[in-house]
């Protein structure tokens, strides 16, 4: 069956596909951590463009917006934690590069062999009028359990992130039983002194 994507859409998908993989490779090639972050952002935006060409308007916009913000935050962390954020000198910080490349290439070849040998059932798909409406009705109806699990997972993430990022909690100040006479603070002063 002929694809119902227009010639322009197929061309856009091909170009964006090459761009996404090229940007993905660039993440691990460039010297600067900031450049690596923005290469990853380019890869995400290319994938968002492909999703847009595939009629998944909502998911494409969510991907583009979420990843832009995520990479902006990541750039800040990059500069905080990296010894070479500006890329002023060449730098590679890898271990077992050959083994990792072999695993990566092996997985790619395995997936590609499957992709090109499977007889994909692409006959006569029935397209919904609005893919966003289809998704919305699914997550508020037949697939609500998925949204419930996602909600609990995100809530657990908020709690765990706060616990991990807290430098000194009440147990550090007042002991395991919260019954210390005076709180153990690095700077004296405050209440209960």
């Amino acid at each position: 069956m002929l694809s119902d994507l227009s010639g322009w859409a197929i061309t856009a998908v091909a170009i964006l596909g090459v761009l996404s993989v090229a940007a993905g490779v660039a993440v691990f090639v460039v010297d600067s951590m900031a450049r690596a972050t923005f290469a990853l952002l380019a890869s995400f935006l290319a994938v968002a463009g492909i999703l847009l060409a595939l009629d998944l308007v909502y998911l494409a916009v969510v991907t583009a917006l979420m990843m832009t913000i995520e990479m902006a935050i990541m750039a800040v962390f990059m500069i905080m934690f990296m010894m070479n954020p500006a890329g002023l000198m060449p730098m590679t910080m890898v271990h077992n590069a050959k083994g990792s490349a072999a695993v990566g290439a092996g997985v790619f070849v395995l997936l590609a062999v499957g992709i090109w040998t499977i007889d994909w059932p692409t006959m006569n798909p029935v397209r919904p009028d609005d893919s966003t409406r289809q998704l919305g009705e699914a997550i508020m109806g037949s697939h609500m359990l998925v949204m419930l699990v996602i909600g609990i997972g995100l809530f657990a993430m908020i709690l765990a992130g706060t616990v991990l990022a807290t430098a000194r909690g009440r147990y550090d100040r007042l002991g395991p039983g919260l019954d210390a006479e005076h709180p153990d603070d690095p700077v004296p002063g405050g209440l209960r002194r």
Binding site: G24, W116, V126, A138, M157
Partner: protein, 105 residues
């Protein structure tokens, strides 16, 4: 161009992203770069899910829901990864995974 061929091309791109991401996650030494490799793997999953919806089963919402789950996993991975990085750095002043190899389970 047949729909099957376009699907195979898009899925090959997704497989390429997964392969590159896996290489990065296994080879990089800094924690943040390992996370970038994992994000690339999930990027490939997003693309494969979108392609599966469009070409194989657009009448069902399942593939779209899978893409939503992959997006959430990305957000959770990044938030928890940075929280662990901050906790590591605070406890030991380390930013490389090799320095934490004593945590091997």
């Amino acid at each position: 161009m047949t729909a099957e061929l376009v699907l195979q091309i898009v899925l090959t791109v997704a497989a390429g992203l997964i392969g590159v991401g896996l290489f990065g996650a296994l080879s990089q030494q800094t924690i943040v770069m390992v996370m970038m490799g994992l994000e690339l793997v999930l990027n490939g999953v997003l693309l494969a899910g979108g392609a599966a919806w469009y070409f194989l089963a657009p009448e069902l919402p399942d593939a779209q829901v899978l893409v939503v789950v992959a997006l959430v996993v990305m957000a959770v991975e990044m938030a928890m990864g940075f929280a662990v990085t901050v906790a590591f750095y605070r406890a030991r002043q380390l930013d490389m995974i090799d320095m934490a190899s004593d945590l091997r389970g």
